[in-house]
Subunit: 530 residues, 2 copies
């Protein structure tokens, strides 16, 4: 086995080639505001075309490799990333300002995700084959032999997220699920952490060579501008897009994809304020304890999570005031960590100012001043249901550790507010036994609005498992029928193909009568487990 | 039980109300060109709004009814349609010019589809719940209890197809799968068969009353213009669109849906030429027999099928000439039946003329003259691979009984032609044992291009079963990940929702620990059958 490549050269990684451009950019340490070592190449139109064309050429050879090879490739990527150790951790910490423990944990999550998809495809649980036997004697017409398998969509463009430099980035969930589905990936490294992206990209290519995968199965493009990403989405070889980022960015990609001569699906995870309902019984039982949990969830990672609790909804009363007192105290003493980039910090401050400047909105707490650059000063605001309804911008995401409490006169107002919310990744109910009737009334609305509904917990922290839904109706995502976390993420990149009366020699191995026993499937409409 | 309503009044059916407008239109018998009895109301903007708003109001009450009620509703619709008997058959024959046996068969297919979806939801096989148990002792963090269920998208707009007045129309596959998914339906009756649409719409509403379903679970809008349909797709209450029709129509709906403030998915089945590969061994074994099957498939229903074999691909040689001789003889004596509408007939003739006028394309056969109106004169053209590549319009669908034979110099030319094809509903291989190597080389390309691949059969005739894929890459459909025929059609209208640590009382019944045994699911990542 070759040693894992741990040097950062700043090159684009196009197929098995490295490419250096004259134009370059640098990364910045958000904790200091100072540039980091490394000059990173900027992809131009020709590089995008080349990467996409190589991916298209790699598609058949890659997807037609036995499933065991695909699984071994995913595991080799995980092994190579894990072997990077401190080189990766140091660079990711420097480029993001995130604490070391978070980066170590996120690396484990990233390699765990890759291994989970390896297990999934090996177990044949990526998508169930459907086998409907021939009925030659059926009247008036015989029935053919019909077998449904699944084929990858084709090359997938993956846009790394700014807030998860590993788990939602170059080898994150989108890449892992696309590769598991048999789709080559052209990734765009997030410009805020190009060195992290390159290390991970080189790890993928190292694994590709080690596993004898075709050139083009993976390429990595970088650059500070939007243009190469837009070209990538418009490239005729690209068949689908995975994106985690801002609403504006996701909408731009959706428009580009819909305007193509051949429109393609975009799976964009964009924008959510993740309402948390503090029901009266729960507040009566433990307002202070809930407030502590809230402050911890809001400020973790400077609130730079898609599932950050950006909206609290509660009924007015003394228990709510007790919650407010504890939450405000906690937030006022919450140390301000650096945000991911200066741009994100500016947008956060602007969003906080806009909340503060809205008539009828009052500031309950603000984190302490901190002289370092890009520090996130957590903020909690309060308003009433009428003001919330009158100012639609109050329901828009402000990325970072800020939340708005809407104090409602009664449950009816809470219900009405909920009905007007946009689509969300999550909705959370804090409830006690006597809150069940109120919660039951909210449930149908929450089911229509959110991808995940929690009780007595916090939405930050997204488990990677079969049942997870990290998705939700627009604008939480561009396609509420999908999830970008958990094994269900693979379904985004697969399409069904039906084989009618095909001779054995032309059927995919998995659909043959003599396929390895233990293959789970749907046979004549009935589930057959492994 | 109330008697099934069998009178045609021409009213719009909005919720449980009937609405008569001043503006009206009539239907035409395409076999005679003469108007049929009945003045049909034209939906205006207010009617569209009212139907969509009622559907939105009906969504929660409908989807939250027990699954057994939903299944009973689907079966009641099937029963009511079946009870219409000759009233429905007579009207559908008159409005479409299709033969009686076809309409009787299509009615059985329609009621069979409704019953199939009833069985599917009753068996819990619409979408598998995923249950991941809590792991309170896990380190470093405990795992929550996570359960994934599915929720309908919301009200679905269904556009009835012109070529299937029953099976792809008001109570066709889109409506059946949407209702099965728990989604109310606002259907637009096809303007060419408004009486058929009204009879079926009244049958659905009859079943809705009988099963005590909420008002708005179904509405039927009619009219000769595109405007109400466009308003329906733009209406904020509509959550998804099902459409079967022309490429221009499907693209228009896709654009409207993508331009909404909240974009919604469109499942449009649009355009396909369904290439048929006549491989050398198969032609050597039985060119005449294959030619007879081809002529029958091409001319059935005047070729007005999405899966009509519009493209033949073969290698030049004497066996191909034998095929041509028989096919041409058959088509030259094929009686011309009336097409569905005068507009379709005009478009067919124009398409045939355009083929005839293309340099390098020669006419092999044309059906006999017929004095009746709107008669389809079948046509078979021939060209070579170079001409086919040079004129992209030769690869565009001409709706009706016309096909183009592309005679290739060798298998390499056939392969190259295939690589350039657009997305298709089907691709068919006629092959013998010695064709397997050639077929094996084509398979990867066909898997990328088509939703269904057949051997030694004809693509017309689409089985309704779990393994069927009636879909395919763009422009065959707007979303190649979907099927509009078979049980998989329900997945278009469902989205996953994850329930984290919810108390039993708030969980959907199907996700509870004490759910009826026999519930199929994915438990901790392993399939558990019923």
């Amino acid at each position: 086995m070759l040693p894992a490549p741990s040097a950062i050269t700043g090159d684009l990684l196009i197929g098995f080639d490295t490419v250096r451009t004259d134009a370059t950019f640098t990364a910045t340490d958000p904790a200091t505001g100072l540039p980091l070592p490394g000059l990173f190449s900027c992809a131009a139109a020709g590089h995008v075309q080349r990467a996409a064309a190589l991916a298209a050429r790699a598609f058949d050879p890659y997807r037609l490799r036995p499933v065991a090879d695909r699984a071994a490739f995913l595991e080799a990527i995980a092994d190579t990333i894990a072997a990077l150790g401190d080189v990766l951790t140091d660079r990711a910490c420097a480029e993001t300002g995130l604490p070391r423990a978070r980066i170590v944990g996120e690396t484990a999550r990233t390699t765990g995700q890759l291994r989970l998809f390896a297990d999934l495809v090996r177990a044949g649980l990526d998508a169930l084959p459907r086998l409907d036997g021939a009925r030659p004697d059926r009247r008036p017409l015989p029935r053919a032999d019909l077998r449904q398998g699944h084929v990858g969509l084709g090359p997938v463009a993956v846009f790394g997220a700014g807030n998860f430099p590993l788990a939602f980035s170059v080898a994150g969930g989108d890449t892992a699920s696309a590769l598991a589905a048999g789709c080559p990936v052209v990734a765009r490294a997030h410009p805020a952490h190009p060195g992290t992206g390159e290390l991970v990209g080189r790890a993928i290519l190292h694994a590709a060579r080690q596993c004898d995968m075709p050139e083009g199965v993976f390429s990595l493009l970088g650059g500070p501008d939007h243009a190469p990403g837009a070209q990538l989405v418009a490239d005729p070889h690209i068949a689908a897009v995975g994106f985690t980022g801002s609403r504006a960015g996701g909408l731009a990609l959706m428009r580009l994809a819909a305007a193509r001569p051949v429109p393609i699906p975009v799976f964009a995870e964009m924008s959510s304020i993740n309402p948390v309902y503090l029901l009266p019984g729960a507040l009566a039982n433990g307002a202070a304890e809930i407030a502590q949990g809230f402050a911890a969830s809001l400020t973790a990672g400077s609130g730079q999570f898609c599932t950050n609790p950006g909206l609290l909804v509660a009924v007015e009363g003394p228990d709510l005031e007790a919650f407010v007192a504890t939450a405000a105290a906690r937030l006022a003493e919450s140390p301000g960590a650096p945000m991911l980039t200066a741009g994100i910090h500016r947008a956060f401050d602007a969003g906080v100012r806009r909340l503060a400047d809205t008539p009828g909105v009052s500031l309950l707490a603000r984190g302490p001043h901190n002289d370092g650059p890009n520090r996130c000063r957590a903020a909690l605001f309060r308003t009433d249901a009428q003001t919330f309804a009158a100012h639609p911008h109050l329901a828009e995401e402000v990325f970072g550790a800020v939340s708005l409490l809407v104090a409602c006169p009664d449950m009816a107002a809470m219900q009405a507010l909920t009905e007007r919310l946009e689509g969300q990744l999550t909705a959370t109910l804090w409830l006690a036994e006597d809150d069940l009737p109120a919660a039951r009334a909210l449930m149908p609305v929450l089911e229509r609005k959110a991808g995940r509904i929690l009780a007595n917990g916090w939405p930050t922290g997204v488990e990677v498992c079969p049942a997870m839904v990290h998705g939700g109706p627009f604008p939480a995502t561009s396609d509420g029928r999908s999830t970008s976390v958990g094994t269900g993420a693979i379904e985004r990149f697969l399409r069904p193909v039906c084989y009618q009366d095909l001779p054995r020699a032309l059927l995919p191995e998995r659909l043959r009568d003599d396929a390895p026993s233990g293959r789970p499937c749907l046979r004549d409409g009935a589930l057959v487990p492994a």
